[in-house]
C-alpha cells in the first residue's frame, strides 16, 4: 500500500532521513518510533509530500506520490498531528468537514458523515457539532482531530504523535479507540511516536529510527527476539518493565478458543513463561492445557503483548 524506496532528505547537506526503505501492507498499522531528531516525523511528512524527498521514491497504491499534485494527494490521505491542529475559528462540525468540503461533497453527504464520525467518537452531535475547539476538553479535541483526518474516508491515515498531549489514562483509551476504528474501516495507518509502549500496543509493524537511519523494521516480536542493534535493544529494553508485570499473573485468564501447534503450556504458568515459550518457538500461538493435560484452548502472542503494554 505504502512503499518507501531508498528515500533521503537533506537539510543543509545533513541527511535527516538517510536512504530509508520499507513497505506498509494494506490494512495494517506501522509505527515509526525513535528519539526526537531521529527523522521519523520528516519521513512521515514525506509520505503526504508535506516535505519532498531529495532522493528515492514513495509509492502509494503503486503510484509515485510526486506525480500527484501535493494538495490532491493530501486530500486522499488523513493527517492528524500532536496538539490536534484544529482550526480555532471553525466549529467542530466545520473542522471535521474540512476535507469533504475541499472535495466538494454535497451538503447532505457532509452532514451525514460529520454526524456519523461524531457518533463513532462518542461525541453527541447535538451537543458538540456547533462548539468551538477551545470549548472542548483535551481528549475531545484529540478525537475531533482524528475524526477530521478520517472524514473523507481515506485509505491511508498518517498520525504524528496523535496522543502526545493526553494523560496516560486518556492515551490508553484513545489507542484502543484507534485500533477499533482501524479494524472497522481497514485503514492503513502510519503513526509516529517516541513512546515504545505505544508502538508495541498499536503496531502490526514497528520501524525504529535513529539519526535519520532505519535501524530495524519488523513485527514487534522480531524486535524483541532479534534486536538489530544495541540502540534497538536499549529501546525495547524500555519495554521490559511492563513485561515483568506478565510474571505476576497466569495464562488462565487469557485463554482463547481455537487450536494451535507446538508444545502445550499449562494454564497455571505465568504469562511471562508463556511469552518466553512463544518467542523461543517462533509461533504466533500455543495450545494451553490444564495441569492434568486437558486442552483448554490457546494463547496468542498478540494478546500477551497487548497485556504487557496495557495490563488490566
Amino acid at each position: 500500500m505504502i512503499d518507501i524506496q531508498s528515500v533521503t532528505k537533506r537539510y543543509g547537506g545533513k541527511a535527516v532521513v538517510d536512504s530509508v526503505s520499507f513497505a506498509v501492507p494494506e490494512g495494517t498499522i506501522a509505527v515509526l518510533v525513535g528519539t526526537s531528531g531521529s527523522g521519523k516525523t520528516t519521513l512521515l511528512r514525506m509520505i503526504n509530500q508535506l516535505v519532498s524527498q531529495d532522493e528515492g521514491t514513495i509509492l502509494i497504491g503503486g503510484e509515485d506520490t510526486r506525480n500527484i499534485p501535493g494538495h490532491e494527494l493530501r486530500r486522499r490521505i488523513g493527517y492528524a498531528i500532536q496538539g490536534h491542529g484544529l482550526f480555532p475559528h471553525r466549529t467542530v462540525a466545520e473542522n471535521i468537514a474540512t476535507v469533504p468540503r475541499l472535495l466538494k461533497w454535497d451538503r447532505t453527504r457532509i452532514n451525514a458523515r460529520v454526524d456519523e464520525l461524531l457518533d463513532l467518537f462518542q461525541l453527541d452531535p447535538a451537543a458538540f457539532a456547533d462548539r468551538y475547539p477551545h470549548q472542548l476538553s483535551g481528549g475531545q479535541q484529540q478525537r475531533v482531530g482524528v475524526a477530521r483526518a478520517l472524514a473523507a474516508e481515506p485509505k491511508i491515515l498518517l498520525m504524528d504523535e496523535p496522543f502526545g498531549a493526553l494523560d496516560p489514562v486518556l492515551r490508553g483509551k484513545a489507542q484502543d479507540e484507534l485500533l477499533a476504528i482501524q479494524k472497522r474501516f481497514g485503514t492503513t495507518i502510519v503513526v509516529v511516536t517516541h513512546d515504545i509502549n505505544e508502538a508495541f500496543h498499536l503496531g502490526d509493524t514497528i520501524a525504529v529510527m535513529d539519526k535519520g537511519m532505519l535501524l530495524q523494521y519488523g513485527r514487534p516480536i522480531d524486535l524483541l527476539k532479534a534486536p538489530a542493534t544495541p540502540f534497538v535493544e536499549g529501546l525495547v529494553g524500555a519495554f521490559d518493565r511492563p513485561f515483568r508485570l506478565l510474571a505476576l499473573d497466569t495464562v488462565a485468564g487469557l485463554i482463547e478458543p481455537g487450536e494451535a501447534q507446538g508444545e502445550p503450556i499449562e494454564a497455571v504458568r505465568t504469562r511471562q513463561d508463556a511469552l518466553a515459550a512463544l518467542m523461543w518457538s517462533g509461533a504466533d500461538a500455543l495450545p494451553v492445557v490444564s495441569t492434568d493435560g486437558k486442552p483448554l484452548g490457546r494463547v496468542r502472542l498478540q494478546t500477551l503483548l497487548r497485556q504487557a503494554v496495557r495490563p488490566q
Binding site: N48, L50, H71, E72, L73, R74, R75, R76, Y79, I81, Q82, G83, H84, G85, L86, F87, P88, H89, R90, T98, V99, L102, Y132, H134, Q135, G145, R148, A149, L158
Partner: protein, 245 residues
C-alpha cells in the same frame, strides 16, 4: 453586548446628532464659557458639514491605507516577499516615531495647502499600525494550524483565505482602529494648512480666544473617535466570537 453597556454609546451618538442638527439649542451649555457678547456656538461655518468632511477625510485616508498596508503585509509574509520582512519590521518601527505634525508639514511642500497634504499625512500615518498588526497577525498564526491545513490538502490560497486571513482579521481590525483614532486627532491639525476639518472650529477658538469654540471642536472630535473606536471594537469582538464563546 448588553444594553446597559451600549446605553452610554447610544446617548453619546444621540447627543452628537442632536448637537449637529441644532447647535443653537445647546447655547446654554457653552454660554458660561464666553465673554458677554461673544458667540457661544461656532458661527463661521456649518458644524454638521465640517463634521462630515472630517469623517470623510479620515475614512478615505484609512480606507486607502488599509488596502495598501494589508496588501503589503500579505506580500512580505508570503515566501516570495520573505526577504522584505526584516526590513519591513525595521521601517515600521522607525516610521512610527515620525511625528504626525512633521508628516503634515513635510507633505505641504510637495502638495501645497488644502485637503491634499492632510489626506496624504493621514494616509501615511495610518499605514504603519495597520501594516504592523496585519504582519504580526499573519506571522503568528500557530504553525501547527497551518500545518494541519496543508496536511488536509488545502492549497496555499485556500490556507490563506480559509485559515490565515480569518484568524488575522481581528488584529487587522485592531490596527484599523488605532489608525482611525489617531486619524481623527491628526486631521484637526490639518486645518493649520487649510484643510476642511473640525480643526477649523478649534483654531477659530484659539484665534478669537473663544473657549466655547475650542470645546465644541474638541468634544465633537473626541465623540467621533470614541464612537468609531466602539464600532470597530464591536466588529473585532464579533470576528473573535470563536474565542469568546
Amino acid at each position: 453586548m448588553s444594553l446597559v453597556r451600549l446605553a452610554p454609546r447610544i446617548i453619546l451618538l444621540l447627543l452628537v446628532v442632536g448637537f449637529l442638527a441644532s447647535p443653537e439649542s445647546f447655547d446654554f451649555v457653552f454660554r458660561p464659557l464666553v465673554q458677554a457678547n461673544a458667540p457661544a456656538i461656532y458661527n463661521q461655518g456649518d458644524l454638521a458639514a465640517l463634521t462630515l468632511l472630517h469623517v470623510r477625510m479620515v475614512f478615505i485616508a484609512t480606507l486607502f491605507a488599509t488596502i495598501i498596508a494589508v496588501a503589503l503585509a500579505i506580500l512580505v509574509t508570503r515566501p516570495f516577499g520573505a526577504e522584505f520582512l526584516p526590513l519591513a519590521r525595521t521601517v515600521v518601527n522607525i516610521g512610527q516615531t515620525f511625528p504626525p505634525v512633521a508628516v503634515l508639514a513635510l507633505a505641504v511642500p510637495a502638495m501645497g495647502f488644502g485637503n491634499g497634504p492632510t489626506l496624504v499625512a493621514l494616509f501615511l500615518y495610518a499605514l504603519l499600525p495597520i501594516f504592523e498588526n496585519t504582519m504580526t497577525a499573519l506571522t503568528t498564526v500557530p504553525p501547527n494550524i497551518t500545518d494541519a491545513a496543508k496536511g488536509n490538502g488545502m492549497t496555499p490560497i485556500q490556507i490563506f483565505r480559509q485559515i490565515e486571513l480569518p484568524l488575522s482579521l481581528p488584529m487587522i481590525v485592531g490596527g484599523i482602529k488605532i489608525s482611525t483614532v489617531i486619524g481623527f486627532g491628526t486631521a484637526t491639525i490639518g486645518s493649520t494648512v487649510a484643510a476642511k476639518t473640525l480643526g477649523e472650529v478649534i483654531i477659530a477658538g484659539l484665534q478669537s480666544n473663544n473657549l466655547a469654540f475650542i470645546l465644541q471642536g474638541a468634544l465633537l472630535v473626541a465623540a467621533l473617535a470614541i464612537l468609531v473606536f466602539d464600532l470597530l471594537s464591536m466588529a473585532e469582538r464579533s470576528l473573535m466570537k470563536w474565542k469568546a464563546a
